[in-house]
Symmetry: C2
Subunit: 189 residues, 2 copies
Amino acid sequence: MDAAVTAGPRKAQQIYACALDLLAAEGFDNLTMEEVARRSGVNKTTLYRWWPSKDALLAAALTAAAPLQITIPDTGSLRGDLTALAAEIARLLTAEDTAAIAIAVLSASAQRPELAAVGHRFFGDRLEHEQQIFDRAVERGEIGPDTDTATVMDLLAGALWSHLILRGRPLTPEYLRATTDIVVRGVSA
Amino acid sequence: MDAAVTAGPRKAQQIYACALDLLAAEGFDNLTMEEVARRSGVNKTTLYRWWPSKDALLAAALTAAAPLQITIPDTGSLRGDLTALAAEIARLLTAEDTAAIAIAVLSASAQRPELAAVGHRFFGDRLEHEQQIFDRAVERGEIGPDTDTATVMDLLAGALWSHLILRGRPLTPEYLRATTDIVVRGVSA
């Protein structure tokens, strides 16, 4: 059964928030189910019944936590949709309630196989939602049907990450527009 | 005076290798000048005379260490140069002697301001070398003179990082070609 259903959606969101706050503050290694239970006021045994492991809880939290949801835009053009999506990704990477979580997941994914598996599921799940942007672009004849969605998202999200984290530069609207423009030109039919 | 000149280039390379091995194995926080001194057989006071801090040593090591050097290709076309550059970046991210170092820097940059500053200098320095690829492409009329080199490199390197680390997918020659093709089409005059 879906753990969130068993726990109740409001209680599940509260537990997800606790888990992600702890992830951001303590890192993956120092996050314990005990502490999540304590902070969210849930019995540890109950918590384990709903999510059998730390990985399972974090995977659920990353997928379902409200602040990490991205609105999939539908502006009528691939350029408009990807510009809006870039702004959403920039928000995730910089907003107060999400930046620490996003950065903890992105950083730890490289070094912690357990969290990497959680990250892969998270990004795979995200891609399924983003696919509709590209399906509509194919229908409108903007891109060919063989355009690889994952590659386009790698380019867009990877560029923002590189600019912000590796170069330490701000994600200005001009930067988002320039990046999106190159990607859209690069895949346009 | 340039520390590498004072230390002698061979000794400097040995110290850089020790520092980067420790960074990869222990992480930024656990790396100490004492341990670098011990492993490289250099007096700690001498090490501090050459590099005044851990940050200074790591910045020098990342910029000058032989395995982290990227050969700047000159194939006669932007597509050829960026394809070769993508293969070099893929090698850095996956080869046995560099992957752990690259991943330690990329991960820690997000969470450690001190290492982030080192990383920013490293990536800024890299960009200066890569600029010649774009200067030649402008001369050949392949791209406009206002093409932003940093954005192009963000897209290319960011995509490889995202694909390998976040999605856990292999960097196949086909993936490198597809990614480079989108970027080259996106910036072509």
